[in-house]
């Protein structure tokens, strides 16, 4: 039936110019992929801070340092600042929680971004979360061919780690983005993925946390036969309960949480009244809980347990000491105890939506800008004197 082939070819002979814009499809799909449930991995963060903060009590554990050096990944991504190596004066440590899963676009987002600010007195650690949806100007990054532009801050890590950028590239672009937006210099940093984080909480045998609001799990439920099952399906942005599956609920109150409970609790965002701000707070609380458990449970005085903890972090953790080394950081932090960790609510805990160049995000309130300036100028104590309600009281 040759004539039919020919006829069909003629029927479809001259197509009009297409309305299909492949670039737009790719860009939209990459954006969509980024915005899927990165929540999950994010919180990972904590571990790094725990390792660094708890490091204060383990100065001199040379064997640990050696172990640490051989299991944890080290990178040199941050610019070195002459004279800063000794870590005198105020220092800032950046903690980045990533979702280790590669999205369909292959991009790795940083869901959790916390700046740990140590004032010049070296007797406190302030935890300042930068909301992942904060709209920022991301500078160009030649190594991955990114030309710069407006985006949410969680894109900075992704854009820096594309291709061969890896964790070093992600860290570098994120640190530079933070420096340009706030003037804050990052002296050291850690990147943790979800697995590394989970391993540490498991090595600690769980943590003691105070649940501060009733939290229904979007991710873990129990079916009629007592088996774990996803309690909700997420189609088209709608969360539909799965019949017969009861979601796990975290009621307010202080208790010991099993590792899976702690990790599930701090990834919840959808069903809590203050959304991502609640989650940022819970993540900070878990960070503090890990540090507390590590310092109080004898882990730090028991070389075998400590060794297990560090090895648990292992490949899931990447650190950059910005020209200093672990012992310098330990020395800097040796007088910071669990009760010296101060958690701060960015934006006072309120959402500030904004749309810049077609990208929905949120902006930092004027007060939050002042907070970042205070971090830069080492005047956080003064800032909190003016904003006492920005301090998270629940531990």
């Amino acid at each position: 039936m040759e004539p039919l082939s020919e006829a069909l070819r003629q029927v479809a002979a001259d197509p009009p110019p297409t309305t299909i814009d492949v670039d737009r499809i790719v860009a939209a799909e990459q954006r969509r992929a980024r915005h899927r449930h990165w929540a999950a991995g994010t919180a990972a963060v904590a571990l790094a801070v725990a390792v660094v903060i708890s490091g204060g009590s383990i100065v001199g554990t040379r064997a640990l340092v050696a172990r640490y050096g051989s299991t944890v990944n080290k990178v040199d991504a941050l610019p070195t600042h002459p004279g800063r190596a000794a870590l005198n004066g105020p220092v800032n440590f950046l903690v980045v929680g990533i979702d280790g899963r590669n999205g369909p676009s292959g991009l790795v987002r940083s869901d959790t971004i916390i700046v740990v600010h140590i004032p010049a007195s070296h007797d406190r650690a302030y935890l300042v979360s930068i909301p992942r949806d904060t709209a920022v100007e991301i500078p160009a990054f030649p190594p991955t061919g990114y030309r710069g532009g407006h985006d949410k801050i969680d894109a900075a890590y992704a854009l820096g780690s594309m291709g061969n950028g890896g964790r070093a590239g992600g860290l570098k672009l994120l640190a530079e983005t933070i420096r340009q937006m706030s003037g804050i210099t990052v002296d050291g940093a850690a990147v943790v993925d979800f697995a590394g984080f989970r391993n540490v909480v498991e090595a600690l045998g769980g943590v003691h946390m105070c649940v501060d609001e009733k939290t229904v799990s979007l991710h873990i439920g129990i079916d009629r036969n007592g088996r774990y099952a996803p309690p909700f399906t997420t189609a088209g942005g709608q969360f539909t309960p799965v019949p017969g599956v009861t979601p796990v609920v975290y009621e307010p109150g202080c208790r010991d949480l099993a590792p899976w409970q702690a990790l599930d609790y701090i990834r919840q965002r959808v069903f809590i009244p203050d959304g991502d701000y609640g989650r940022q707070r819970h993540q900070q609380q878990l960070l503090a809980a890990i540090a507390t458990r590590a310092m109080s449970s004898g882990v730090l005085s028991n070389p075998a347990k400590l060794d297990a903890l560090v090895r648990a972090a292992g490949g899931g953790l990447t650190v950059d000491f910005g020209g200093a080394d672990l012992l310098d950081w330990m020395a800097t932090l040796k007088s910071v105890g669990p009760d010296d960790i101060v958690m701060i609510r960015t934006n006072g805990g309120h959402y500030q939506p904004v749309k810049v160049d077609g990208v929905y995000g949120e902006q930092l309130s004027p007060d939050s800008r002042q907070l970042l300036q205070a971090v830069r100028d080492d005047t956080v104590a003064d800032f909190l004197g003016r904003h006492p309600d920005w301090v998270v009281e629940d531990r």
């Binding site: 004539p3 069909l8 197509p15 297409t18 299909i20 790719v26 799909e29 369909p104 676009s105």
Partner: protein, 172 residues
């Protein structure tokens, strides 16, 4: 994920996919919609798709299903009219002559979706019976019988057009 590879694939296949889509749905705007839908689905699964032996077959299957989905939308459902939408062919038409384009497009549009798809896949995309069966998700026997029936219908319509008055369309 290999975004560059995806772009490369789309650059080469965009035109053939659009033509195939047009033959399925008979309207270039809808064709572009269908191809867009298919491209998005392809992108989301590209990591796996790019490993496939026959990416084209997968792409056509996605396109075919996008079209079936589109047809099920309420505003695409058929409407009844008392006149034929298109006049038939005007000259003497035989199987061996090149059929008037508009007439053929109209006849195609009257075929049920699977029969139309069978013709497009086999005679426009030049697929074998087996490959066509794979795209449509049916047996080779079904492909053959659907092809035969589709061809019969086309033949009938063409002959009817020849015997009908060449100037005015016939009322049914």
């Amino acid at each position: 994920m290999d975004v560059a590879g995806y772009r490369e694939y789309v650059a080469v296949q965009l035109d053939p996919l659009r033509r195939t889509a047009y033959l399925l749905c008979g309207d270039w705007h809808t064709a572009d919609d269908l191809v867009s839908t298919a491209l998005i689905k392809l992108f989301r699964r590209w990591k796996r798709v790019s490993q496939m032996e026959n990416i084209d077959a997968y792409a056509r299957r996605v396109l075919f299903r996008a079209w079936l989905d589109e047809r099920r939308r309420p505003w695409r459902r058929e409407r009844f009219t008392d006149t034929m939408p298109e006049p038939g062919g005007t000259g003497p038409v035989t199987e061996t002559s090149v059929v008037d384009r508009l007439a053929l497009a109209a006849y195609l549009a009257e075929l049920p979706p699977r029969r139309r798809a069978v013709l497009v896949l086999r005679y426009f995309c030049d697929l074998s019976v087996e490959d066509t069966a794979e795209v449509l998700g049916c047996s080779t026997g079904t492909v053959k019988s659907q092809t035969a029936r589709a061809l019969d219908t086309l033949r009938e319509r063409m002959l009817a057009a020849v015997t009908a008055s060449p100037v005015t369309s016939r009322r049914h």
